[in-house]
């Protein structure tokens, strides 16, 4: 038999005496026979929530600070949108220029391409914040969000990978990376055929953001990171920071 509990909001309203009489009686009778809801109620009582309570105001926080923060965030969003728009126009102009150049060039040799199938790795890394279309990637309905689970030694690490096979993009954000003077964080890309490619991570104020684009993204099987001697290693040697399995569709 399915046992349904009362919503937490309703339990809090019951405690604050904000429920209409009928609902109040329903909640009271449920509480009498449901240990789990009783515990939740006790927890709320335990932190001192009650109907006629007087709480101390937060010592430093001020509404104007929150207002200013909201304004600053709006500003940043506007700037990002502007940059994206400008980037789009510049990109289009460059594309037209290259197309014209190609038309006017003699057509007697193979076209140079970064996507040549004989190249071992076909991806590009973008690390500059302004060049990464974060919101476009994150809000794309085809983008998968994969939380990063840190290893036991890096518990304060928090991060996410956004993966989109359609646009061939992988965005990764990390925060809580402790700085080490004699070591660098190195990212390891493990391909479906178990090839491994290392890339140094640029860390600023404990955070790193990296966008990888290109054909190869679809062939990434795992992403992991480790601490390596300055300048990086050819293969992983240092303690592992995290490891993430990328599940492609």
């Amino acid at each position: 038999m399915k046992h349904s509990h009362i919503s937490e909001t309703k339990i809090v309203d019951w405690l604050l005496d904000r429920l209409p009489e009928r609902e109040k009686e329903d909640v009271s009778s449920h509480l009498k026979q449901c240990l789990e809801c009783q515990r939740l109620l006790e927890a709320w009582k335990g932190i001192g929530l009650k109907a006629e309570a007087h709480y101390e105001a937060p010592p430093l926080s001020r509404p104007e600070r929150i207002w200013a923060q909201a304004e600053a965030q709006k500003q940043t969003k506007r700037m990002r949108r502007g940059l994206r728009l400008a980037g789009g126009w510049i990109g289009a102009a460059v594309a037209v220029f290259l197309f014209t150049l190609r038309l006017s060039a003699p057509n007697d040799g193979p076209a140079a391409s970064h996507d040549r199938s004989d190249e071992p790795y076909r991806y590009m890394i973008v690390e500059q914040k302004a060049d990464i279309p974060i919101e476009r990637i994150i809000h794309n309905p085809e983008t998968k969000q994969i939380p990063i689970e840190p290893s036991a030694l890096f518990q304060q690490l928090d991060g996410t990978i956004w993966l989109n096979d359609d646009t061939k993009e992988m965005l990764m954000e990390l925060e809580g990376l402790p700085p080490f003077t004699a070591r660098d964080y190195q990212l390891w890309i493990i391909y479906t055929n178990n090839e491994v490619k290392g890339e140094l991570l640029t860390v600023r104020h404990g955070t790193a953001r990296i966008l990888i684009t290109g054909e190869d993204v679809k062939r990434f099987k795992q992403i992991k990171a480790s601490l390596e001697p300055k300048g990086g290693s050819a293969t992983p040697t240092g303690p592992e920071t995290f490891i993430v399995d990328l599940k492609h569709e």
């Binding site: 309703k10 105001a57 909201a70």
Partner: protein, 193 residues
Amino acid sequence: MEDRREDLELLEKIAEGSRTAFDRFYEKYAPMVYHIALRIVGDEAEAEDVSQDVFLEILQKPHQFDPKRGSVQAFLAVKTKSRSLDRLRKKRDLLVNRLEEAALKENGAEFYFLRQLEQQVLIDALTHLPEEQRQAIIHFYFHGETQREIAAAMNKPLGSVKSLIRYGLRNLRKQKELFRWMEAGRGEKQHEA
């Protein structure tokens, strides 16, 4: 009823961009929000940050509130609890501090919320602990057993169980020292047994 109507009106005006409405809303609920955050995270500066996040969210998404689900006050209380737990998830030092405080109390009702954290958050952190310490912590925090019940199940005196929990938490705290050791490139971490 009057109060409920006022809250709805304030949220409507906040959605329209009214600074006065936001100030009034803040004045009305900031003390409660801060109180809940402080009781859960146990640190004034962090509680300030949580309060700020909660009100920032209200300012940016005032239509999140659904009057069918309950009062604005209850909505804020539950949201504050949720944001406070998020903060504990992100800041492991803070979490270990709270767990230590909980370990010293036989029945701290307010620590019930800590059990709502994803078990994985703690299980990951527990993997390197000696077996008995890990077991004591799992029974205490995840199964909600009292220290007396754990003592009976583990066939140990109550004092030993309290020590196991405390040592376990202290070992968790030592994980911070591991970073210093790696930086200096020396030493090996030892657990207290």
